[in-house]
C-alpha cells in the first residue's frame, strides 16, 4: 500500500480481514495531506454521519456537522490505530519498478519486494495550473489552492480567484469576507444546494443511489472523472455556497479565463451559458431525487419539493482586467489538483499523465489504485466511498495472488 490516508487505511483493513500480508508506506504521517496540504478553514464536504470506513465510524455528538481538519486528522489517525494498520511513517516511496513476479519498491528507508502494489497516494498531490500563468505580470502574486492557507497570506488589495469548484467558491467567499475585492473567474462548474427538501444534498446522493452509480455505467467516463468538485462548503449553518450567494456578498463574477495578453486577463463571454448548463444539470439531479421519492412513496421522510433561483447573470461582467493597474494584487489558482506519479516507473500513464486503469485495476498485473475520482463509483473519492471500492479491489487482488502463486508459496 502506498499512502496512509483514509483510502489506503480502508484497503489495509480489508487486506487484514483476509490475512493478506502487507505494509502501508507513508511519506509523512497518517493523514498527511489533511495535515499539511489543505487550507486552514476547510471542513469536510460530507456530514459527519457519512464518515464511515470499514470497521470504523463517526461516534461524536454532531452527526449532521462537518469536521474541521483537526477532527479529520484525529478520525483517520484513530482509524489507523484501532485497525492496527502496519503503517511505516516517514517512508516516502522513491520508485516502483516492475520485476519478475511483482514489484520492487524503493523507499527512503530501503527496498521492498512485493507481488502486488496498491496506489493510495491520493488524487491531489499538486496543483494543476494552466500554462497561461506564465503570462501573469511579476507585480501580481500567484498562490495555488495547494499553497493557500488563509487570506492574511495574500498581499493587500484585490484578488482574482480562478476556478469555481468547491475550492474556488470557498476561497472566494473567505477572501471576500476578509474585506478584499474578489473577482471570481467561472468556468464549467457543478451547482448544488447544501440542503434539499430538508436533507443534506449528500444524503440524497447516497440514499437515491446516485453515488453508487458505477464507473462502467457512465457514458463519458473521462469527462465525469474530470468534473470539478461540486460547489459545496461544510459550515455549522449548513449554508449553500453557490454563485448567487457569492454575488450577493459582493464577489464579482467573470467568465472563464481564456488568455493573459499584454498583462491583461481576458475572460470568455460565455458566462451565461455556463450558468444555464449548471442550473439545468442541478435541476435534472433534483428531478432524479424527486422521482426516487415518488417511486418509493417516501414523501413523508422529506420536505416539500423545491426549486432554486436560477444563477443571476451579472448586470455587467467585464471581459478583461488589466493586471498591471494595481487593483488586482494576487491570483489564487483554484484550477484543480492532480496526482503525482514521478516515482512510478511502470508504463501505466496515458499521454496526459493519467493512470490507465479499469475500475482501479491498473494496466499492469498486480498493480491497483484506490481513492481516485470515480474510480469505481461516483462516491469513490469520499470517505464513505472507500469501503466498497476497497472490498472490490482486494477481492480482485486476492484472486490475482492466488492465480499467480505457486502452491504453498507465501503471500507478500
Amino acid at each position: 500500500m502506498i499512502g496512509a490516508g483514509h483510502a489506503g487505511l480502508a484497503t489495509s483493513r480489508v487486506l487484514g480481514e483476509r490475512s493478506i500480508d502487507h505494509v502501508v508506506l507513508e511519506r509523512g504521517e497518517v493523514a498527511n495531506s489533511w495535515r499539511r496540504e489543505r487550507w486552514d478553514s476547510l471542513r469536510l464536504l460530507t456530514p459527519n454521519w457519512q464518515a464511515r470506513l470499514p470497521g470504523h465510524r463517526y461516534d461524536g455528538d454532531d452527526p449532521d456537522g462537518y469536521m474541521p481538519m483537526a477532527e479529520v486528522i484525529a478520525f483517520v489517525s484513530r482509524y489507523a490505530a484501532v485497525s492496527g494498520a502496519p503503517v511505516r511513517t516517514q517512508t516516502a516511496v522513491t520508485s516502483v519498478t516492475a520485476v519478475d513476479g511483482g514489484y520492487r519498491v524503493g523507499t527512503e528507508r530501503g527496498e521492498i519486494a512485493c507481488r502486488s502494489v496498491v496506489l493510495a497516494s491520493g488524487a491531489c498531490n499538486s496543483a494543476a495550473v494552466p500554462a497561461l500563468r506564465a503570462a501573469v505580470p511579476d507585480s501580481v502574486a500567484c498562490v495555488t489552492a495547494f499553497d493557500y492557507r488563509n487570506p492574511s497570506q495574500l498581499p493587500d488589495g484585490g484578488v482574482l480567484v480562478v476556478g469555481a469548484s468547491a475550492t474556488g467558491v470557498q476561497l472566494a467567499d473567505e477572501i471576500r469576507r476578509s474585506g478584499r475585492r474578489v473577482v471570481l473567474s467561472v468556468g464549467e462548474h457543478v451547482r448544488l444546494p447544501r440542503i434539499y427538501r430538508g436533507r443534506d444534498v449528500l444524503w440524497w446522493m447516497e440514499a437515491s443511489g446516485v453515488w453508487n452509480q458505477r464507473y462502467d455505467e457512465i457514458d463519458d467516463l473521462t469527462r465525469a472523472r474530470g468534473l470539478p468538485s461540486p460547489q459545496l462548503v461544510g459550515t455549522p449553518e449548513h449554508a449553500t455556497l453557490d454563485l448567487n450567494t457569492l454575488a450577493a456578498a459582493g464577489v464579482e463574477l467573470v467568465g472563464r479565463l481564456s488568455a493573459i495578453r499584454d498583462g491583461r486577463a481576458l475572460f470568455s463571454g460565455g458566462l451565461r451559458n455556463l450558468f444555464a448548463l449548471a442550473d439545468l444539470k442541478m435541476d435534472r439531479l433534483l428531478d432524479t431525487f424527486d422521482e426516487w421519492v415518488s417511486e418509493g412513496a417516501r414523501d413523508a421522510e422529506v420536505g416539500p419539493r423545491e426549486r432554486f433561483e436560477p444563477t443571476r447573470v451579472p448586470f455587467s461582467s467585464p471581459l478583461e482586467l488589466d493586471l498591471r493597474r494595481g487593483e488586482i494584487r494576487s491570483i489564487v489558482w483554484a484550477t484543480g489538483f492532480r496526482p503525482e506519479y514521478g516515482w512510478l516507473h511502470v508504463p501505466v500513464l496515458d499521454h496526459k499523465g493519467h493512470l490507465r486503469h479499469d475500475g482501479g485495476g491498473v494496466d499492469a498485473p498486480g498493480l491497483y489504485a484506490i481513492g481516485l475520482p470515480l474510480l469505481r463509483r461516483r462516491k469513490s473519492t469520499f470517505i464513505i466511498g472507500a469501503e466498497d471500492d476497497a472490498r472490490d479491489i482486494v477481492t480482485h487482488l486476492a484472486r490475482y495472488l492466488d492465480q499467480t502463486s505457486n502452491r504453498g508459496a507465501s503471500r507478500a
Partner: protein, 189 residues
Amino acid sequence: MAEKKTVEKRLRNGVNVGALLEAREALKKAPQAAKFKWRASCKWQNGTHSSTKVKGFHGLGEEQKHKTEFTFSADHPEIFASEDLGATPVEYVLVGLASCLMAGVAAVAENRGIKLRSVEAKLEGAMDIQGILGIDSDVRNGFDDVKVTFNIDADATKKEIEALVAQSQKRSAVYDIVTNPTNVTVVVA
C-alpha cells in the same frame, strides 16, 4: 478569400475615404447614430446544411438594408459524413476576417495616398478537432492559431506596406471579434 483591388480613375483604390471621414465627423456630433446592429437569419436545411440570409441592419438611427439579399450556405465536408453543400462555419470566420482586413488595407492605403496594384491574402486557421468532438476537454473548440499572409504590390516601401497592414488590424471589427472575448447570449424563443 483573395480579393483584388484595381485602380479607379477618380480614386486611387476605389475607396471613398472623403465620405468615410465626413461620416466620422458627423457621427462625433451624433454618437447615437453610430450604434449599429448587424443581423443574419439562419435556417436549418438538412443534416449539417444551413442557409443564412443577410439583408437588413440597423444604423444611423434607422433601419437599413443591402441592395440585395445575400445567402450563404454552410455545411461540413464529406470526411465528416456531411454533403459538403457549403463552406464550413469556421471557414466563414476566415472569410469575415480576410474581407475585413482587406477592406481596411484598401481604405488605409487610400487615406495615405498609396496606390495598390494587387493585394492578396491567404488565411489559415489551425484547429485540433479533439475539442469539438469532446475527446479532450483541455483542447479548445475554436482555432488555436490563425495565420494571415498578405501579398501586396503597391507604390510604397516595405515599411509603409507593413504599416498599412498593421493599421488595418487596429481598425478591423472582425480582427477584434476574433482576438478578444465577446459576450454572447443564446436564448430559446
